[in-house]
Symmetry: C2
Subunit: 174 residues, 2 copies
């Protein structure tokens, strides 16, 4: 299983609105790299927000939150750990910051035209019913990331399966 | 140099007001554990605040900041890294939170009666001249930590040298 010349560590940053498939993709990536004997840490936005549940949803608070997570992702990377980050991270400013401090950073922008139709968590329905707010792509703007097809790509989860998405990401890193 | 049965990773949390000797102690600890072939990450409050320079100094912001750092310290610990944390961390609430989420956590409370007299960074003088504010122990309260002499100790840097302080900490962990 040991691979020579393989990359030791890097940061994969999954961005996109709720329900687009970030977590499904992240879990599949995690399994892939664990199987390949990498040390992997998976940072999930919902989990971290549940620990720090008074993090606000204004632009500055979101940017600060994402920057801090990115800072620690870069420390994990420096320590030889593959870091899979699963955060809506709607703002270009904080995504760019994280990119700038990581050594080997891959941005994966997942998108879909059907997130509200699918609505796997019932989030959009609750938003439309005015039961919740702070939904990226709705009352919080989601800034579409710049992609360069070198280290930053976009993948439509309407078109590609989880397996195909994971393969695209692996090919990008290899 | 390899030691059998040695602890793989743990978190050493240095707390105390500015100028008490946290950074000197942290640097000495870092050298010690690197020499012993541990993987070490050193998290320094001033460095992290300089990256996140809009972190506020009200009680909730300080607590949130320290809790987030502690959360990531616990992830580093889980990944086999010795984490040396050097933060004023004036509030018991966030220190207790960090203690609760780390597996093997040591709290080192450094204190001195002479921080203002020594004033190595000129911080207290600038505070007295009303040039700066947000100084723990002055306008920000510093809550003295509970110690149990098992995993939480206090050390007077008036009485003990850096070397003696480091030895006390090493004996605590061993």
């Amino acid at each position: 299983m040991l691979q020579l010349f393989k990359k030791k560590s890097f940061v994969i940053w999954l961005t996109g609105v709720s329900g687009v498939g970030k977590t499904t993709t992240a879990e599949a990536l995690r399994k892939h790299f664990l199987k390949k004997k990498y040390k992997v840490e998976y940072l999930n936005g919902d989990v971290i927000r549940s620990v720090f549940n008074n993090t606000s949803f204004d632009r500055q608070s979101i940017n600060d939150h994402i920057k801090k997570i990115g800072f620690f992702a870069s420390i994990l990377e420096k320590n030889g750990i593959v870091v899979i980050c699963d955060f809506i991270s709607p703002f270009e400013e904080s995504r760019k910051f994280v990119e700038s401090i990581c050594k080997d950073f891959y941005l994966i922008y997942l998108y879909s035209n059907n997130v509200e139709k699918r609505d796997s968590k019932g989030l959009y329905k609750r938003y439309r019913n005015e039961e919740i707010k702070n939904i990226a792509g709705m009352d919080i703007p989601y800034e579409i990331p710049e992609v360069d097809y070198i280290k930053k790509i976009k993948i439509s989860t309407d078109v590609f399966s989880t397996k195909q998405t994971v393969n695209k990401i692996i090919r990008l890193i290899d």
